[in-house]
């Protein structure tokens, strides 16, 4: 059963074709990664799923239902939530307010406290920083906050855009451990965009490789990480 199906998706920035016919499928409760170099169109794809960008043609199906033309707030309501590239923390809101912003579209606000406790469990560091302004956190903490904030809308599909960007290697490892833990414990589906192909393929079930707006390769994460081409281009061998 697929939670997300993308069919022949085309996205343009003016005259520039950013995505040229993407087909991508995400199985329910899995971790799927999308790897590729700078400018391949990974972030464009995530932003199109979140409806921050509008496609020229193609379809995006969520649980088999067409969501291509929904507005960003409706996308969040249907159960897709994104932790954007570069974290984009609200730097002048406190950590707690940032988390509450994540639950912005939710109608059942009375469960908020349970959900806050839930994310503190995964990222206890955040609990120590509750009253601090978002902008004063370290890069790693901001990433934890961005992921937690995305979780606050109780998504079924979590889109993570480069969670390793600009973070100390040691922290990257622990954040990815938490991502796997999250998937195992709650069954939340994760679509992970990464440049760090090594770590991404080590946690994912399935992977796609993107290059200049097209998907050039896909397969089991294991087989991809042993693929000659991938090893050469993305794993630094």
């Amino acid at each position: 059963m697929n939670i997300l199906d993308i069919k022949n998706l085309h996205v343009n920035y003016g005259a520039i074709k950013a995505l040229k016919g993407i087909d991508l499928h995400v199985k329910d409760k899995s971790i799927v990664t999308l790897i590729g170099a700078n400018g391949a169109g990974k972030t464009t794809l995530l932003r199109t799923i979140s409806s921050l960008l509008k496609p020229v043609s193609g379809e995006i199906l969520f649980h088999g239902k067409d969501i291509t033309n929904l507005s960003p707030d409706k996308i969040v309501e249907t159960g897709i939530s994104q932790s954007p590239e570069g974290r984009m923390i609200f730097s002048n809101l406190t950590v707690k307010e940032n988390l509450e912003m994540g639950a912005y579209t939710r109608k059942d606000k009375h469960n908020l406290k349970d959900d806050l406790d839930f994310v503190y469990e995964f990222f206890p560091r955040l609990k120590e920083r509750l009253k601090q302004m978002g902008g004063t956190l370290s890069g790693g903490e901001q990433q934890m906050l961005a992921i937690s904030r995305a979780l606050m809308s109780k998504p079924k599909l979590l889109l993570l855009d480069e969670p390793s960007l600009g973070i100390a290697p040691l922290l990257v490892k622990s954040i990815f451990e938490q991502i796997v833990e999250l998937n195992k414990k709650t069954g939340i589906t994760i679509l992970l965009v990464e440049q760090n192909a090594n770590i991404a393929l080590s946690v994912a079930d399935y992977g796609y490789v993107m290059e200049t707006g097209e998907i050039i390769l896909e397969g089991d994460a294991k087989s991809l990480s042993q693929n000659e081409e991938v090893r050469k281009a993305y794993l630094g061998e």
């Binding site: 921050l52 996308i75 309501e77 994104q82 954007p84 923390i89 002048n92 912005y104 809308s153």
Partner: protein
């Protein structure tokens, strides 16, 4: 509940002060009213520029619409108002509430018309669009004979044959008429009642979880949007409610000054309001109020050294911006880091 009590008691306090306001020297009374009007203007612009992070430079345009519309209603339709509500204290109150709402709603509608298409623009572009809008409004008023064009507006002549005009046309000089001047409705109570209303409106809005949407839009639009905040909606709400209060301020101004001129609402007026917001600190309620008070009083204090007045005024602003760029009560933003990823 506690908030409601505070709100009502503030209104009562304003009412009580108003009972004694008659003893205040007229010069100080005038300054006091202008302070109140400027607080309303600056606070309403703060909602747009400060809290929501959009740069509007056309607040005088909304004020002009509010002022001109409510004043022309109160003069051209003066017989209607007098007939319907009488001229007692009660009738005047009802008339004035209607007139204030006319000014506010007209400005709010203008806010929707300008805001919906132009709020998709950012930063400088929005500033230029709103500035252009305010200038268009002023130029239109300047050529509208029905509100006195560039000579300003002080009342309406209603002729016996049913004609109405702001000035006596040459061929009508023999027809009997009644002149309805702008009624002096604005007083301490009304001005500061609206000061109280806007303060409570903004502080309630901003402390609600709904209001956090405005701050999120200011902080990072893309992040806000991916959290499911409808950013356009928030920008339009801020813009339209800001315009509404500017319209009210205009209506108060018109019914106090009893004479309005298009030049009262020129570019410099817009800049003056922006300066109050920046000086007070973007997004700081108390700072903006204090700045509005200071910037209304300061030119009066400097009246003694008349020809150097504006130089000193400008110098003070420059010094202020050098020493405290974030404004009197503004929070220092983290330098440089924002918008890196755009």
């Amino acid at each position: 509940m506690k908030n409601k009590l505070l709100f009502l008691s503030s209104l009562v306090l304003v009412f009580i002060i108003n009972l004694f306001a008659g003893n205040i020297d007229p010069y100080y009374y005038t300054i006091l009213i202008y302070i109140g009007i400027n607080i309303i203007l600056a606070s309403s612009l703060n909602l747009i520029n400060g809290y929501t992070g959009q740069f509007s430079l056309g607040h005088a345009g909304f004020m002009a619409i509010g002022a001109y519309l409510s004043v022309s209603f109160s003069t051209y339709f003066a017989p209607f108002f007098i007939e319907s509500f009488g001229q007692g204290i009660f009738g005047n109150t009802i008339s004035f509430i209607i007139l204030l709402l006319i000014g506010g709603i007209a400005a709010a509608i203008a806010g929707i018309i300008v805001g919906v298409p132009s709020l998709r623009l950012k930063g400088d572009y929005l500033a230029i669009t709103t500035l252009g809008f305010a200038e268009i409004i002023r130029v239109i008023i300047q050529s509208l004979d029905v509100v006195g064009a560039s000579q300003g507006f002080r009342g309406a002549y209603i002729f016996e044959n049913g004609m109405k005009a702001a000035m006596i046309p040459a061929d009508m000089s023999s027809v009997p008429y009644v002149f309805y001047s702008v009624p002096k409705y604005t007083n301490f109570f009304w001005t500061f009642a609206f000061v109280v209303i806007i303060i409570f409106f903004i502080s309630n809005l901003m402390s609600s979880s709904y209001g956090r949407g405005f701050l999120a839009v200011k902080d990072d639009e893309i992040a806000a949007e991916s959290m499911g905040v409808n950013t356009t909606k928030f920008k339009v709400i801020a813009f339209v409610s800001g315009a509404f209060f500017a319209g009210i301020a205009g209506a108060l101004y018109g019914h106090f000054n009893l004479y309005i001129n298009p030049e009262d609402f020129n570019f410099l007026k817009s800049v003056e309001i922006v300066v109050m917001v920046i000086l007070g600190g973007m997004g700081s309620m108390i700072g903006v109020i204090i700045a509005a008070v200071i910037l209304t009083i300061l030119p009066e204090f400097l009246r003694g050294i008349s020809e150097y007045r504006m130089i000193i005024y400008a110098l003070l602003l420059i010094i202020m911006m050098l020493l405290r760029p974030q404004g009197l009560f503004g929070v220092q933003l983290r330098p440089g880091k924002k918008n890196k990823n755009k």
